[in-house]
Amino acid sequence: MESITGLLTKIFGDGMSPMALLISGGLTMALIMSLVMAMCAIVFTWMERKVAGFLQSRYGPMRVGGFHGVLQPVADMLKILGKEDIIPDEADKALFMLSPFVIFIGSLMAWAAIPFAPGFIASNLDLGLFYIFAVSSAAPAGILMAGWASNNKWALYGAARGAAQMVSYEIPLALAAIPVVMATGSLNMNAIVDAQGGGVLNWYIVHDPFLFLAFCLYFIASIAEVNRGPFDMPETESELVAGYHTEYTGMRFAFFFLAEYANLFLVSCIATAVFLGGWHPIAGPVFLPGLVFLIKAVILVFLQMLVRWTLPRLRVDQLMHTCWKVMVPLTLLCVLGSGIWMMVSGELL
């Protein structure tokens, strides 16, 4: 936000009160973040369809917008905006209408602490990482609301599964990031990224073997956290029809969609900032930091897509088994191991 407020100060001079500066800067940043989210949905739906297509020996969308159907998501968005908004008669209407926004806002709030480039962060919180994990916990509540309010049995199943899954996988997700916090000594996202400057060898992913393992575990847990295959329990389209958003149409469905792809990008951004050196390039000085950050995040998104379109889905009990009996012990091992590593290598002293 510093860059934004700096810009605003330049434009309006010193005449603005600090409060007005804070509010206007915050609003600008929120607007930018909302746009980023919308762009995420548009870009990544197209990318997902193309990646899935080429993985499966087909092209994916080719018609709209000339080159490889680049405007397909725009057309889809227009279509979905024009659709009737159906609220089932027996649904709990207030919750039904509210839940897409709960999920959306939960996702949007997390963006506040993502450092895209030096100074380009909505809110440079001291507890940045902690804040991100905290606010993204709003999503299970939204899913439960959606599933319950739809008054549809499949949606209820999806919601119950989804909430259980997301609550569970938050633990390995957060635990996997703890070694990094230990290494940095700070929860501030800027500080975490700054600590990784100066070439690929300073990135936390290669800091020590336990951190590499932590990255892998974080990656798996993040797939589960955003409800994508092979952990797409809340949707499980071959079992639960469409899971918690079975009854949603039109704009409300679009919000779920938006949140899903925004979350997909969000977890990749966190992984980039926390493990992959944020805006620091592989070698050399910082150059086009925003672009470097984006490239890293998009590569992670691509990997998530590759996993989704390759692997079969886990059963719900196996999912829990994987979380509690495999991931949580391993992340704890990572915390312990990297702590020992740091003590031995003398970093902590």
Partner: protein, 388 residues
């Protein structure tokens, strides 16, 4: 088990507080992605655990058996296409063999060989769909598309042969409708060659994937006794460890001339008769079909493709006969009653999926919803032949 009564540790109080929990009744289908068509399963669940499954059929019922009474013998071949629309060649084969058995007509050698090649190619095509959709039930999208890719190649051969991509109406009583085209043998051999390589790919992508094994091994175990009792045939019976195949044990056409193994479930990843066994039986059957096709292509003679001494309007002598053949789903039986006329008196179709699906009532209770989906997927049902 209609209600589960949960008593908490308050029995020492004057009035024990009993909490009643109800089972959740949920309709899986008729519009549901996992039911492979318009099947409706009424599932009662206790949380994720299924307590009872009741299939409701008939959404695709066309009463082809009634239509048979108004068709002549050759015309009804068209309707057999539409039973198992994923393996019409096998259905045609069954009906043709059934009527020929009653007519006691000699089918020319060349027609026999073409028939066997078609039936085995069709078996591969049908198993490809079975495998692909089974993977889809597990959430693996990509194998389905790969399977369809290879299936299209087989359909291309059928299209050149019969003109149709889905419903061929290629077999006729006494032979086949068209002769094989010029480079039929080369195309089929090339297809077999491609297929054998692709099977390796599927195995790596899906069969030995750990998640897939976890999802299918020890799930939906159907043992041999249950198979006999419920009339399960085909890959379901063989998956239960019974190496029974009509092609070898009750040979029809010229299957006794070929050398092939009958794969059966051995419980490699879990229990004998689990979903994985049924899956792997299909996978191995594709290789065996490739073997049969190679032999058949080698042995294919020149000559007639249609029995010359058969009239256009067939009249089947009076009598009743149950003939069974091995389709890709199992034993397809045609019970034919003729009254000596040019039209069937009664054609009863004993379709494999009908019996195979029935077993879900037995094995369904006690499994999780995801396992139910997996089990229904592993039975490889086609609603066209269940509802007929």
């Amino acid at each position: 088990m209609s209600d589960t009564t949960v008593t908490h540790g308050w029995e020492h109080q004057d009035k024990p507080r009993v909490q009643q929990s109800e089972l959740l009744e949920i309709n899986m289908g008729p519009q549901h992605p996992a039911t492979h068509g318009v099947l409706r399963l009424l599932v009662k669940t206790d949380g994720e655990i299924v307590q009872s499954v009741t299939p409701y059929l008939g959404y695709l019922h066309r009463c082809a058996e009634k239509i048979a009474e108004g068709c002549d013998w050759r015309q009804w071949m068209v309707y057999t296409d539409r039973f198992d629309y994923l393996a019409p060649m096998n259905m045609n084969f069954g009906y043709a063999v059934a009527v020929e058995n009653m007519l006691e007509v000699e089918v020319p050698e060349r027609a026999q060989y073409i028939r066997v090649i078609c039936a085995e190619l069709q078996r591969i095509a049908s198993h490809l769909i079975a495998i692909g959709t089974f993977g889809l039930d597990m959430g693996a999208w990509t194998p389905l598309l790969y399977c369809f890719r290879e299936r299209e190649e087989i359909l291309n051969i059928f299209e050149r042969l019969s003109g149709g991509r889905m419903l061929y109406n290629y077999f006729d009583i006494g032979g086949v409708r068209f002769d094989a085209y010029d480079d039929f043998a080369e195309e089929v051999l090339f297809m077999v060659h491609v297929m054998e390589q692709k099977i390796v790919e599927y195995n790596t992508l899906l069969t030995y994937n750990k998640i897939f094994i976890e999802r299918t091994a020890d799930v939906g175990v159907i043992d041999a006794e249950t198979c006999y009792a419920y009339g399960c045939t085909g890959p379901v019976l063989r998956g239960a460890g019974v190496p029974f195949d009509c092609r070898r044990d009750d040979p029809y056409s010229i299957y006794d001339r070929f050398e092939f193994e009958i794969p059966y479930g051995q419980g490699e990843q879990g229990t004998v008769g689990d979903c994985w066994d049924r899956y792997i039986v299909r996978m191995r059957e594709m290789s065996e079909s490739c073997r049969i096709i190679r032999q058949a292509v080698d042995g294919m003679p020149e000559g007639d493709f249609m029995s010359p001494d058969l009239k256009k309007l067939v009249k089947v002598p009076a009598g009743s006969l149950y003939t069974r053949t091995e389709s890709s789903k199992g034993e397809i039986g045609f019970h034919i009653i003729a009254d000596g006329g040019s039209k069937p008196f009664r054609n009863k179709v004993r379709s494999p999926s009908y019996s195979n699906l029935h077993v879900i009532e037995k094995v369904g209770p006690g499994m999780m919803i995801s396992d139910l989906v997996a089990t229904v997927g592993s039975l490889d049902i086609v609603l066209g032949e269940i509802d007929r």
